[in-house]
Amino acid sequence: MADLIARPATHGLLPIEIGSVVLEDAQPEAITWIAPYNRKKSAVTRTLGGFPGPGQVVEVKAGRALSVGPGQALILGAPAACDDAAVVDQSDGWTVVALDGAAARDVLARLTPLDLRDSALSENATARTLLGHMTASITRTGPYRYELMVFRSMTQTLIHELTRAMKHVAARARLSGPG
């Protein structure tokens, strides 16, 4: 059988660097949606090596698990399996990009109603929220780094919205800079 080459939806579109911010691909090997069956949460937690509470990211055997809703998590990393939970492979359903740089928070602040201050979104915290008109998942993976997930079909809209905001933030920085 032909050996097909998997390409992320961002192929040929990223990375983009504007001002102090870089937008780059961060697609994991696999994305697995996990929802423990009734009264099976502790069994699932044992099998996976952890299960995130609201707003949490936890390291699990297969990779990182993000909380995405009541009783639901997405595992980013290797494919995950579990007999005590509903498990759906969503690897091809999402686009994951990373926004990195000193002004990354200023860029996001133009697009999301989420409170991005350290007190509300600390490092290693995650939130389901809006980005422009899209529902998205925002995870802070470093002091100046955020991972953003939207449905794969919205990849170009995501890049368009972020690029616009990055340009505007860079223009602001030039205006208020020295001279």
């Binding site: 609201p54 707003g55 809703g69 009541p70 989420l114 939130a127 929220t129 809006l130 998205a136």
Partner: protein
């Protein structure tokens, strides 16, 4: 206006959708009078003051009941429908 999602915590109004009076949780019995069904489906108050409403947090998919005041815009309390119908 900010609302507290039972799962995610306090969030901006833009993330939520209004789904009507929380009366919708008090469904009549299947064999109830026609009048009871009529009131359940169609009759709503329009109070200037305390209300109980259903809201939906679109990004995470949580339903909730919000107790708020339409005269002052204060949001007093939010809870899951399970808590609200206990």
């Amino acid at each position: 206006m900010r609302l507290t999602c039972p799962h995610c915590g306090e969030r901006d109004l833009r993330e939520f959708a209004y789904k009507g009076d929380a009366l919708a949780l008090s469904r009549p019995e299947a064999n109830a009078e026609l009048q009871a069904w009529h009131e359940y489906l169609h009759i709503r108050d329009n109070p200037a003051g305390p209300t109980r409403e259903l809201w939906y947090h679109t990004p995470c998919g949580s339903w909730m009941v919000a107790e708020r005041d339409t005269a002052t815009h204060a949001v007093h309390r939010t809870m899951t429908p399970a808590e609200a119908t206990k």
